[in-house]
C-alpha cells in the first residue's frame, strides 16, 4: 500500500536534483523545429501577384489593393498576421513553385499597434490596359504565363508584348503591320474587353486624352 507513494517520492526527489522541466524562455530563446508552421512570408522576387493565395485562404487573411491613382501602378499584397491560422493553404496554392509565399518558422508575432503592425505587405508592379487603363494583371504574372506557354504566347499580343517589355525590347513591326489593316491598337497590351472590341469592330483609334470605356 505504501509502495505507490514511495515511487512518487522517488520521482519528487529526482525532480529536485534535475531542476525545472520548463525552458528558461526569455533568457534562452525558443528554437522551433524546422517543420513548425509559422508566419507565412511573401517573397517579393518570386511572387507573381496572381491572387491564388487570396482565393484559397480559408480565413481571408490575405487581401490585395490595386493602386492605379498616381505614379507607377502597383498591386499591394497584404497578409494579416492576426487573422492567419498558419494552415499553409497559400503556400500549397502558390503558382510560383510554392515559393511566392512560404510558411516560415517565425512564431514571435506579438505587436503593439494593430493598425500598423498587424500585417505585412509587398508591392508588385501592375500592367494596365493600354487603351482603357483597366487592371490586367501583375507584369510578373503575364511574364509567368508567357514563359509557361512558350511559343504559343506569340498568339496573344498582350503576352508577347509584355514579354518583350520585360526584356526591354520594343517591337514596332506589329503596330506597323496592323496599321494598314485599320486597327493598329490590336497589337497593344489589352484587357479582355478591349481585345474583343478591337477584334470585332473597326472603330477609329481613340484620340489621345479621349479614353475608351473602362474595362
Amino acid at each position: 500500500m505504501r509502495l505507490p507513494k514511495l515511487r512518487e517520492l522517488a520521482e519528487a526527489l529526482k525532480a529536485v536534483v534535475r531542476g525545472p522541466y520548463t525552458s528558461r524562455f526569455p533568457v534562452e530563446p525558443h528554437v522551433p523545429y524546422p517543420s513548425f508552421r509559422g508566419q507565412p512570408r511573401y517573397d517579393a522576387a518570386k511572387c507573381v501577384g496572381c491572387l491564388a493565395c487570396e482565393q484559397v485562404c480559408p480565413v481571408e487573411a490575405i487581401a490585395h489593393r490595386d493602386e492605379t491613382g498616381g505614379g507607377e501602378p502597383k498591386r499591394v499584397m497584404i497578409h494579416y498576421t492576426d487573422t492567419c491560422i498558419f494552415c499553409g493553404s497559400c503556400e500549397a496554392a502558390c503558382i510560383a513553385d510554392h515559393e511566392g509565399i512560404r510558411l516560415s518558422t517565425d512564431w514571435n508575432l506579438a505587436f503593439f499597434d494593430r493598425r500598423t503592425e498587424s500585417f505585412e505587405t509587398i508591392e508588385k508592379p501592375l500592367q494596365l490596359c493600354e487603351m482603357c487603363g483597366a487592371v490586367i494583371a501583375c507584369i510578373d504574372h503575364l511574364t509567368w504565363i508567357a514563359d509557361r506557354l512558350g511559343e504559343l504566347a506569340f498568339a496573344s499580343p498582350t503576352l508577347y508584348q509584355s514579354r518583350l517589355a520585360g526584356l526591354g525590347i520594343a517591337d514596332e513591326n506589329i503596330a506597323a503591320v496592323l496599321r494598314d489593316h485599320g486597327r493598329s491598337d490590336r497589337g497593344k497590351i489589352l484587357c479582355a474587353r478591349c481585345r474583343r472590341e478591337t477584334t470585332l469592330t473597326t472603330k477609329e483609334e481613340p484620340k489621345p486624352g479621349e479614353k475608351g470605356e473602362a474595362g
Partner: protein
C-alpha cells in the same frame, strides 16, 4: 429535507460543448440532475456551408480545441464517401498517426484534470508534463501543437519527412517509462481505488439505453469502437486491441483511458514503422451531387459527419454529431444517488470540458451565495484528503 438546486454551467469559452447541469440536492445527496445543451451555438454547420469543401476542413477543425483532428477526420471521410474515393495508402497511415497522437494527448489532458479535481495533483503535473512531449511530437510531424491542419478531402496536406520518423520514434520510446509511471500512479493508487470505485456506475443496460459511445461505453462492457467495427484509414493494418472493462464506474473509465493511451502509442509506432511510400493526395477535381457520411472514433467516442453536395464546390448541408452529445445524458444515470463532492468527478468522467464548474453557484432560499466552482473543487479535494487520513496514508 429542503431541496436545493445547484446550476453548473452553462458558459465557458474553453468548452467544446457548453452545457448546463442542474443538480437537485437534498443535503449532500444528489436526487436529480438535468442537463441542458445548446448554449453556445456557433453556427459552425452553416459556416461550413459557406466555405468550399477544402476550406471547410479548417472550420470543422475548430469545433473542438482538444480533439481537433477528429472532426476533419470524419468530415473528409464524408466528402470522400460522396465521390466515392479511396485515399492513397500513405495518406491513410499519416491520418492514423495524427489521429492517435491526438488521442494520447487528449486522454492525458483528461487524466490530469481528473487528478486535479480529486486533489491528486501529482497526476495532474505528471500527465500534463508528458502531454508536452506528445505535443512536441505532433509539432514535428504536423508543424502545429494543436489544430494540425493536416487533413484535406482526398488525402493529407503535409507529408511526414523521412528524417523526422527516427526522431519521433526515439521521442516516443523515451516517454514510455514516464507513461508507465503515470499508469501505476493512477491504477495502483489506494486513494483513487477508495475514491472512484463504485461511484457513478453506468450499467451495461443503461449505457445501451443512453447510446453511450467511446470510453464511457467501453468502461461499461460494451465492445464498441469504430476503429474495430468499421475499420477506416490504416486501423485494420495495425495490431491493437480494444480496451473494455465491465464495472462502468468512474475508476473503470479512468482505466480504459489510461490503457488506451498505450494502444494508441502502439498504433502510432507501427504506422510510423510501416509508413508506405507514394502520393499523399488523391487530388479531387470535382465533387458530384450526392451525400456521404463519415465516422471516426474520437478520444471521447464516435464522431459522425453527414455532408450533402449539389455538385458545386460548397457543401449544401453539413451535419455534425459530436460524441459528448451522446455521453452527457448518461449523467442522469450516474450522478443521481451520489454526493455533491462526487458529482464533479462523475460529470468529468465522461470527459466534457469541465471548466464549467467555475460557474457553479449554490444559492440558499434567501438568495445568498454559498458555493462557487472553486468551492466544489475544494469539497472534492477535501473528501480525498479525508480518505487519505482514513487509510493511514501520508
Amino acid at each position: 429535507m429542503a431541496k436545493t438546486v445547484i446550476p453548473i454551467g452553462p458558459y465557458h469559452p474553453l468548452m467544446e460543448e457548453p452545457e448546463l447541469f442542474r443538480l437537485t440536492v437534498e443535503g449532500e445527496t444528489v436526487v436529480d440532475v438535468e442537463a441542458n445543451l445548446g448554449y453556445n451555438h456557433r453556427g459552425i454547420e452553416k459556416l461550413s456551408e459557406s466555405k468550399t469543401f477544402d476550406q471547410s476542413t479548417f472550420v470543422i477543425e475548430r469545433i473542438c480545441g482538444i480533439c481537433s483532428t477528429s472532426h476533419p477526420f470524419a468530415y473528409t471521410q464524408a466528402v470522400e464517401d460522396i465521390i466515392p474515393l479511396q485515399v492513397p495508402e500513405r495518406a491513410k497511415y499519416i491520418r492514423t498517426i495524427v489521429g492517435e497522437g491526438e488521442r494520447i494527448h487528449s486522454h492525458l489532458l483528461w487524466a490530469g484534470l481528473a487528478g486535479h479535481f480529486l486533489g491528486y495533483n501529482t497526476v495532474f503535473m505528471w500527465a500534463w508534463k508528458l502531454r508536452e512531449e506528445i505535443l512536441d511530437v505532433m509539432e514535428i510531424l504536423t508543424g502545429n501543437r494543436q489544430n494540425y491542419a493536416m487533413f484535406k478531402p482526398g488525402g493529407v496536406r503535409r507529408d511526414i519527412r523521412s528524417q523526422d520518423i527516427p526522431v519521433v520514434l526515439r521521442k516516443i520510446d523515451s516517454i514510455m517509462p514516464t507513461l508507465e509511471r503515470i499508469r501505476k500512479a493512477i491504477v495502483d493508487d489506494p486513494v483513487l481505488h477508495a475514491r472512484l470505485k463504485g461511484i457513478g456506475v453506468l450499467s451495461k443496460e443503461e449505457a445501451i439505453d443512453y447510446c453511450a459511445v467511446g470510453p464511457t461505453a467501453r468502461a461499461s462492457g460494451i465492445d464498441r469502437d469504430v476503429r474495430k467495427d468499421a475499420p477506416y484509414a490504416a486501423y485494420d493494418r495495425v495490431d491493437w486491441k480494444m480496451i473494455v472493462t465491465n464495472n462502468g464506474d468512474v475508476f473503470d473509465k479512468v482505466v480504459v483511458r489510461v490503457l488506451e493511451i498505450f494502444e494508441s502509442v502502439a498504433i502510432m509506432k507501427q504506422c510510423l514503422e510501416q509508413l508506405p511510400g507514394g502520393e499523399i493526395d488523391a487530388k479531387i477535381t470535382s465533387i458530384p451531387p450526392g451525400e456521404g457520411i463519415g465516422t471516426h472514433e474520437a478520444p471521447r467516442g464516435e464522431v459522425f459527419h453527414y455532408v450533402r453536395s449539389d455538385g458545386s464546390n460548397r457543401p449544401v448541408r453539413h451535419k455534425v454529431r459530436a460524441p459528448s452529445f451522446m455521453n452527457i445524458p448518461t449523467c442522469k444515470a450516474t450522478v443521481v444517488g451520489g454526493t455533491i463532492s462526487d458529482a464533479t468527478i462523475i460529470l468529468a468522467a465522461v470527459d466534457p470540458c469541465y471548466c464549467c464548474t467555475e460557474r457553479l453557484v449554490v444559492r440558499s432560499p434567501d438568495g445568498r451565495r454559498l458555493y462557487d466552482g472553486q468551492d466544489l473543487v475544494r469539497l472534492s479535494q477535501e473528501k480525498t484528503a479525508a480518505l487519505r487520513k482514513e487509510l493511514g496514508l501520508p
